[in-house]
């Protein structure tokens, strides 16, 4: 029986997921390693009556989707690390104006121009703010092509639900990897259009702004935002592989998590009680789940393609900080299985 699956790259899967979620406006600026995604949208969006704009910069791209979303379209932009840095101002504005958009970061090595290899160096930027002011956005960390597709659709649903930007945070390898994908259209609830700007016909004029000059007004608005960010905890997702009886737990997301799963598979065959805890939402972070699973285990090894950014959240989650260790690779290098096993205290 021939499979009904198709072969797509992670970048293309994000594009198709977006289109099937109802995305009808995309603006972007070329940057490696996510160029296939921009090209996919250029080809695909006109087929469904959507609009594709190649912007003059990432600044313009993110502001275009701000406008498009304000006019009622589901809108997305995608980029890689340096381009995402340029977008931080507008992301803060959209959090402040409660404009829902989806932003995809296919991370590359940094800082600066860095390189084009996959990396996880933008975790703190994505989860702790990045732009100015007290805001957060939901952050999804897919780890395969199917999840690139699925979580892009989820990102659209939740951006609308909370009227807030949502980020899909992948690394360059996830953008480039090709895997079979089962294409399923998500059922999205109807959008709340009661706030969009489409002309004040037979209604009062509407205003989208983030400016609140009196301090008490701005604080009140911030309290509303903080309440919203807390409510997002309902959406927390994580995955545990063989964690139930695990004595040593690896914590990783994205491509790093896949490498860790391989290590656990090898370890289990040799009778080692190892497991992997993989946060899927990086904001909100699954603190409680990790705390529970981490109780009683001997060691927690955090593995990242960074200098130790998610590590900070893991340390917040666990009670006994002494048992947390870290192994990270930077600059586009990948964590190595043998090194992970060594750090778990096992000869290979």
């Amino acid at each position: 029986m021939p499979s009904r699956k198709v072969l797509l790259s992670g970048n293309e899967a994000v594009g198709e997921g977006a289109v099937l979620a109802g995305c009808r406006f995309y603006a972007g600026y070329p940057i490696t390693p996510q160029n296939e995604l921009t090209a996919y949208m250029a080809r695909r969006l006109p087929e469904v009556g959507g609009v594709f704009v190649q912007a003059e910069s990432e600044l313009a791209a993110i502001n275009m989707i701000m406008g498009a979303s304000s006019a009622g379209a589901l809108a997305m932009t995608t980029s890689s690390s340096p381009g995402i840095s340029l977008m931080q101002e507008a992301i803060s504005y959209m959090a402040g104006m409660e404009v829902p958009v989806v932003v995809v970061n296919v991370m590359r090595g940094g800082p600066g121009l860095g390189n084009i290899a996959g990396s996880q160096g933008d975790y703190l930027q994505a989860t702790k703010g990045g732009g100015h002011g007290d805001y957060h956005m939901m952050v999804f960390a897919p780890s395969n092509v199917q999840e690139m597709f699925n979580f892009t659709q989820e990102a659209f649903r939740l951006s609308q639900k909370y009227r807030n930007p949502v980020m899909v945070l992948a690394d360059g390898y996830l953008g480039q990897i090709m895997e079979p994908l089962e294409i399923k259209k998500a059922e999205l609830p109807p959008q709340n259009q009661g706030w969009i700007l489409d002309g004040a016909k037979a209604r009062e004029p509407r205003l989208l702004k983030s400016l609140y000059l009196p301090s008490e007004d701005l604080e009140g608005f911030n309290l509303h935002l903080q309440d919203k960010f807390r409510r997002m905890e309902e959406e927390i997702l994580w995955e545990g592989s063989e964690v139930e009886d695990a004595e040593k737990i690896l914590v990783a997301y994205g491509t790093s998590a896949r490498i860790c799963k391989e290590v656990v598979r090898i370890g289990r065959r040799a009778g080692k009680k190892w497991g992997v805890f993989r946060p899927i939402t990086l904001f909100p972070f699954p603190y409680q789940a990790l705390q529970k699973i981490g109780k009683g285990c001997e060691k927690i090894l955090v593995v990242e393609m960074s200098s130790g950014q998610m590590l900070e959240d893991v340390l917040l989650a666990v009670d006994d900080k002494n048992k947390v260790e870290f192994y990270g690779r930077m600059g586009g290098s990948l964590p190595e299985k043998e090194e992970i096993m060594k750090r778990l205290g096992s000869g290979v």
Binding site: L7, P33, I116, E179, T255, R258
Partner: protein
């Protein structure tokens, strides 16, 4: 069954195309499969390679650290990856562009005159398909028919190219069959 493969050559030899075709063929055989291309500057000269993993089981890490199968289309790629091949693994070598022999004694090696066979079909551009056809025979990781029937997925509408690539796949397979 789990095969971890690196296909490597220089930019322009159709390395990624070969990797994608192998991936599609594995998909229609209902295997789990992943393919990660090298990308970026390497597209324009230099070495290009891709990591393909074919498995009956769910694939955890898509990264090939130590390939069980290495297919090299040029000398630089053999120099770069030979040491990484698993003991007991296999190397398929395009002997036209790799003038040296494989040094490893703990692997099985197959030499295929990829360019020569491709040129007989009209262009050295088919070297990638010749090598993939030969690899199919030597390793059995994927059937020749699966490769052949996957071509339209990558070359939709380009009938002439589909036919010529099919011919090259078969030429490689038959060479391997005859050479043993």
């Amino acid at each position: 069954m789990k095969e971890e493969i690196i296909i490597a050559g220089f930019g322009g030899q159709g390395i990624l195309f070969a990797g994608k075709l192998l991936t599609w063929a594995s998909l229609i055989e209902d295997n789990k499969v992943t393919c990660i291309p090298s990308y970026g500057a390497e597209m324009r000269g230099g070495t290009a390679h891709c990591h393909v993993i074919v498995s009956r089981e769910e694939i955890a890490s898509p990264i090939v650290e130590k390939p069980s199968l290495l297919v090299v289309l040029n000398r630089q790629s053999l120099d770069r990856f030979e040491k990484r091949v698993l003991s007991g693994g296999r190397i398929v070598v395009n002997s036209d562009l790799v003038e040296r022999k494989v040094e490893r004694k703990d692997v099985r090696v197959y030499y295929v005159p990829g360019n020569e066979l491709a040129e007989k079909l009209g262009s050295s551009l088919f070297t990638n398909m010749v090598m993939l056809g030969a690899t199919s025979f030597y390793t059995g990781i994927v059937k020749l028919e699966s490769l052949v029937s996957s071509l339209p997925n990558l070359l939709a509408g380009k009938e002439e190219l589909i036919t010529s690539n099919q011919r090259a796949l078969k030429a490689g397979y038959e060479y391997a069959h005859a050479a043993g």
